[in-house]
């Protein structure tokens, strides 16, 4: 016999403060992409810094007939951990892709089979602005730098200037 819920509450649509598990997000992302649409969500983590930062909003688009190329930032399910990763393609080999986070020097994800790739990043938003650096033609150069370890060297060299650029941008925003 069916058990009745004694605590009847008025049906309601909830909009704010919804926290969903990562597995649910992957499922929804795959469904959206399979319909040929883009998926927009908030990224977490630092593995793609400084091009994608923790809290940036990214849009993942479905793969086109052309497979992802060198420098593309792709979304994939890691074959071992089954976790969703958003990292850069360093090179291709026999249909598989060598992928690594820009901020994970010497720690590549390994050769990821093409079928594990679920989409590619087409847009990054930060504080309401579209961030293009890292997704344009320079992405190929970034992949080469990442592969050779020079991206990390350049990142370390740039660290002292971060504060300067941040202050400058804050001044520009104020004026």
């Amino acid at each position: 016999m069916k058990r009745l819920h004694p605590d009847y509450k008025r049906p309601a649509i909830i909009k704010n403060g919804i926290s969903i598990p990562g597995t649910a997000m992957i499922e929804i992302m795959q469904e959206v992409l399979s319909r040929g649409m883009s998926f927009r969500f908030r990224a977490g983590g630092f593995s793609m810094a400084p091009f994608i930062r923790d809290g940036d909003i990214i849009s993942v688009s479905p793969l086109s007939s052309i497979p992802p190329g060198i420098g593309d930032v792709v979304a994939f399910l890691h074959p071992e951990t089954k976790l969703l990763c958003i990292h850069r393609v360093l090179y291709r080999n026999n249909g598989a892709l060598m992928i690594q986070g820009d901020n994970l020097p010497g720690n590549p994800d390994g050769m990821i089979p093409g079928e594990a790739i679920i989409g590619h990043v087409t847009r990054v938003e930060r504080s309401g602005r579209s961030i293009k650096l890292g997704l344009g033609p320079e992405r190929i150069f970034l992949a080469i730098l990442s592969r050779t370890g020079l991206l990390e060297v350049m990142r370390r060299c740039a660290v002292p200037f971060y504060g300067y650029f941040r202050r400058r941008r804050a001044l520009c925003e104020k004026s």
Partner: protein, 103 residues
């Protein structure tokens, strides 16, 4: 203009939403302008709302949904009828469901 909901009307979930019930939690992401936006356009429903959503299948009339809900929850017929038509109106307004047919 809000359409009045008749109890013989039948509604179906819109093709322009992705909905999943995971661990008892209903998640609805509308697909707007070619984008499924989980950052600014993510919805869920409470237990009663989820029960109604699950009965909106393109076959059941509003009357049947009301009966189904009455079998699940302890509440008066009048209250349930008012709530079901109210939530259906809201879902229609948000284009999460579409009218399938009138029986």
């Amino acid at each position: 203009m809000t359409k009045s909901i008749g109890t013989d009307m039948v509604f179906a979930r819109s093709n322009d939403v992705v909905a999943r019930e995971i661990d008892g939690m209903l998640i609805i992401v509308p697909l707007t302008a070619g984008v499924g936006d989980m950052e600014d356009d993510l919805f869920s429903m409470n237990e009663t709302g989820t029960a109604i959503w699950n009965m909106i299948d393109g076959k059941k009339t509003i009357k049947e949904i009301i009966s189904g809900l009455k079998e699940e929850f302890i509440a008066g017929q009048g209250e349930i009828t008012k709530d079901v038509t109210g939530i259906v109106e809201e879902l229609l307004k948000r284009r999460m469901i579409v009218e399938a047919a009138s029986s």
